[in-house]
Subunit: 128 residues, 2 copies
DNA sequence: GCTTGACTTGGAGTCAACTCCAGGTGTTAC
DNA sequence: GTAACACCTGGAGTTGACTCCAAGTCAAGC
């Protein structure tokens, strides 16, 4: 599977995919004789996993560390789980903060709605 | 209220507060005769609002634009509401993506739990 | 009167995460 | 055979959001 295909499928640019490989977030992808990358199913799965984690704000270095542990086999299972648990906690905290922001936005929007409604009813002119 | 106080209260560094003023995210804060910033209640409220929005990932330029509209008075109410509604939608989308990541993390963690449990029961050695 | 500490400024530096570019190769279409 | 196109590389540039720094001012404590 060529990089353009993976790019289209994943929505990540070819540049980003090459960048991910370069920094060791993706493993060295196989090449066809002419040197062109040939992503296999596992590579694509990894891209999807990375995409999902990145979208939620997990930093790249954490992911690199995680995959390095995966590489080292079963004796790193505890450490890997620890990383996931920790990142989960950070994620939950971020989501909580975002929920508060959402509540505030909803409040503000409803206030604007009220104001607009009043204006439309021409009850009074408004100043800031 | 001096910058150090606002910094402590808000958790934003004095450098960040000055930076916010410099780029026009905060209005020009009043100064005491010797040129030292003296934040008033409104400034502090704005800092809190900014903090909340930034934590949720709203970009600085959007906030600058929003405050510029506030500055222009009541005729910009519709436009301001539009910004909030749009940012709200983006926020909800981000939260949704994060929820998916959270689900995936939970799944992965539970798989690791199973593996660890099995290992501890010495049912079998594990390979990657 | 001198040190200490908090404040000021303009400007430069840093960081994460891309993103772009120039110059080169290899395959396909006419 | 040559133009168009997708790919390659190493390296530089960009973006957003800070963060740090040097050099200076001022008030308070000793």
């Amino acid at each position: 599977m060529k990089i353009s295909t993976v790019s289209k499928q994943s929505g990540l640019s070819a540049d980003t995919l090459r960048y991910y490989e370069r920094i060791g977030l993706l493993p060295e992808v196989n090449r066809s004789e002419n040197g062109i990358r040939d992503f296999n199913e596992l590579d694509v799965q990894r891209v999807e996993f990375i995409k999902c984690m990145r979208r939620a704000g997990l930093p790249i270095d954490v992911l690199i560390h995680y995959f390095a542990l995966v590489q080292q086999g079963h004796r790193t299972i505890e450490a890997r789980k620890e990383i996931l648990v920790q990142q989960r906690a950070l994620l939950v905290a971020r989501m909580k903060a975002m929920q508060q922001t959402l509540d505030l936005l909803d409040h503000k929007i409803s206030v604007y709605d009220d104001v607009v409604l009043k204006t439309e009813m021409e009850i009074a002119p408004l100043e800031e």
